[in-house]
């Protein structure tokens, strides 16, 4: 084949040919080992493992999707989605994903929500919910969810109380804590506000300057014009009166008063 290079896979065959052609005198140390342990098949595409029901189209001309790997889905996915939609801040809790020996599933027993090997989280609610559905007779999915949820809330409240008491104990024995996340958040907001205020003031100044530059007289001269004498303004109008068109005519592209 053109695009493929099978030399690494044909190492044993190449060496056999070299030996037969007397290009090398003795076989290398790996020769018999590789000869006895053949490499696996390569470039074979078999049907993908079925994780979901495939809808066979009425006229199958080419089965292109048959060899594509499928998405893995579990019953728990729907329950996880529901739980985290109802409790979005549970997603903000840190989670340890490192496994010790990969046997976590052997060590958990979901007849109770709290586990030795696993921290309390949305996942424990989901597993507990499933256990209740499968093991308790006449338990609907909604009831299972409610019961698991309530057990979860009890434990979370307990954790909150423990945290508060621990903080009180620590403060009473002399510990002091830095700013809380709310304090830090407020400080950052204040800083951002001050930055915005400075920017906004600068923008207002610039806008005023631009407005002032639009008119020839400027803001001050406009005010001054309002305060000027009537006689002076009449005299000024008389000066340019012969260039200005007469009353009643609109000055479309008309006389421009040259200075």
């Amino acid at each position: 084949m053109g695009r493929y290079d099978f030399r690494p896979l044909r190492v044993h065959q190449t060496t056999t040919q070299l030996l037969n052609a007397d290009r090398i005198s003795t076989p290398p140390p790996w020769y018999n080992v590789v000869g006895s342990i053949t490499p696996a098949q390569t470039l074979v595409r078999s049907q993908a493992l079925p994780h979901r029901q495939r809808k066979l189209p009425p006229k199958t001309k080419k089965a292109s999707k048959l060899f594509q790997p499928q998405k893995i889905s579990y019953e728990e996915d729907r329950l996880r989605k529901e739980f985290f939609k109802d409790h979005p801040w549970e997603l903000a809790r840190p989670r340890l994903v490192i496994e010790n020996d990969g046997k976590d599933s052997h060590k958990t027993d979901w007849s109770h929500i709290q586990q030795k090997e696993k921290a309390l989280s949305g996942e424990s609610v989901v597993q507990r919910q499933l256990w209740l559905r499968h093991n308790v007779p006449n338990m609907s999915s909604a009831q299972a969810y409610d019961q698991a949820r309530k057990e979860f809330y009890d434990l979370r409240l307990q954790e909150e109380v423990e945290r508060r008491v621990a903080k009180e104990e620590a403060t009473s024995t002399g510990a002091y804590f830095g700013p809380s996340s709310l304090d830090i958040g407020m400080k950052l907001e204040d800083k951002e506000y001050e930055r915005w205020k400075a920017w906004a003031q600068r923008q207002v100044e610039l806008r005023n300057q631009r407005n002032a530059a639009m008119y020839t007289g400027g803001v001050q001269s406009e005010d001054a014009a309002l305060e000027s004498d009537e006689k002076e303004s009449d005299a000024a109008v008389e000066e340019v009166s012969d260039q200005i068109p007469a009353q009643g005519q609109s000055a479309l592209g008309g006389a421009i008063v040259h200075p």
């Binding site: 030399r7 690494p8 018999n32 080992v33 696996a40 390569t42 470039l43 790997p69 010790n100």
Partner: protein
């Protein structure tokens, strides 16, 4: 031993305790100056008491021998006794406290790597060997190794990984048993320790820096200055073959284990050109035809790479042990090299330079 006793010399200069001035003020506004003054006073007082105590205590200064520059023995100043006391206390207190249940300790993968018999699907799962790359980055040649798609990435089948890894381990132990030279290559940051450990166990060579292109195809130029030696069946060096070794072609490995084939494609190509079998960790975006024995696993996880390198190193160790056992029984598993000059009586039978025999294709 010099004992400094300052009392006799400085007794007339012992100062009297300074008069302390205590200013107590019940006013709401406290004067900072008086507080600072009182602080200074108390500090000075502490220092003076300290200096008095130091003057009065006997200070032992160990004498140094002028010729040998050795200090006096520590037994005389109580250091050994203090250490023994500390050890006794440790023995009492070590069993106290909580017992920590067995858990993952990263260093154990390097100090006590897993054996091929310890490979289980749970171990591979915990080592994140099943995590492939994004589905859009895949190489369809690897479709047989893929279990499915989860969260936008391909998940590698761990039973396939375990089977291929066990096969690779058999190859490594077989080549080691036959006295072949195995090269372990891992050039990503953090792979150096496991590569060195695996090479050490298998009695082979390691590489954790960049592979110089042409090290096999242009070996005479690049590796021509490297020292080679002749060893017997017990890996003891036989001296006196320096002249002959100069004329021999440069050594090539008999098996190459590559922990990151995507970065080392040049080396794998050279091995293909020179008919050298290779083993490599093939991720979902890598080309499995680049190596003779692919191991479909996650090459980005250091934990996974350490598990695989450890297992292959252990396999090599087992092969070396079998070879030495057979050598002790008088059975040499490889084809000894024929060298020109007369052999010395010790280890005459099993001389080898590592690498294949007289190779007509000299580089």
């Amino acid at each position: 031993m010099i004992i400094r006793s300052a009392i006799r010399r400085h007794s007339h200069r012992i100062p009297t305790l300074p008069q302390l001035s205590w200013t107590r003020s019940l006013a709401t506004e406290v004067d900072t100056e008086t507080i600072e003054q009182s602080l200074d006073n108390s500090l000075r007082e502490t220092h003076s008491i300290e200096s008095q105590i130091q003057e009065k205590t006997i200070q032992i200064v160990p004498q140094i021998d002028a010729r040998t520059h050795a200090t006096q023995s520590l037994e005389q100043d109580g250091t050994a006794e203090t250490y023994q006391q500390h050890r006794r206390r440790q023995k009492l207190t070590n069993p106290m406290g909580s017992t920590i249940s067995p858990h993952y300790e990263p260093h154990t993968l390097l100090t006590h790597p897993p054996r091929p018999s310890d490979i289980t699907l749970e171990l591979l799962l915990a080592s994140q060997a099943h995590l492939g790359h994004k589905t859009s980055h895949w190489n369809p040649m690897n479709s047989r190794y893929i279990f499915g798609i989860r969260q936008g990435i391909h998940v590698i089948s761990l039973d396939v990984t375990a089977a291929y890894l066990r096969r690779a381990c058999r190859v490594v132990s077989g080549v080691a048993e036959k006295g072949g030279l195995i090269l372990f290559v891992g050039t990503r940051p953090g792979q150096d320790r496991c590569v060195v450990k695996a090479a050490e166990m298998a009695g082979g060579c390691h590489l954790f820096e960049r592979w110089t292109p042409g090290s096999i195809t242009n070996g005479h130029q690049i590796l021509g200055r490297c020292r080679t030696k002749v060893v017997d069946e017990f890996d003891r060096e036989i001296p006196g073959f320096d002249e002959e070794l100069e004329d021999r072609p440069v050594l090539k490995p008999d098996l190459v284990v590559c922990l990151n084939p995507i970065e080392n494609w040049v080396m794998l190509h050279e091995c293909g050109l020179n008919a050298i079998p290779t083993i490599g960790i093939v991720d979902t975006d890598a080309n499995p035809t680049w190596v003779t024995y692919p191991i479909p696993a996650n090459d980005d996880s250091l934990r996974c790479v350490q598990v695989i390198a450890g297992a292959l190193g252990r396999a090599g160790e087992e092969g070396q042990a079998k070879r030495k056992e057979k050598a002790a029984a008088g059975n040499i598993t490889y084809d000894p090299v024929k060298l020109g000059r007369a052999m010395p009586t010790r280890g005459a039978r099993g001389a080898r330079t590592g690498g294949s025999g007289d190779d007509a294709r000299s580089q």
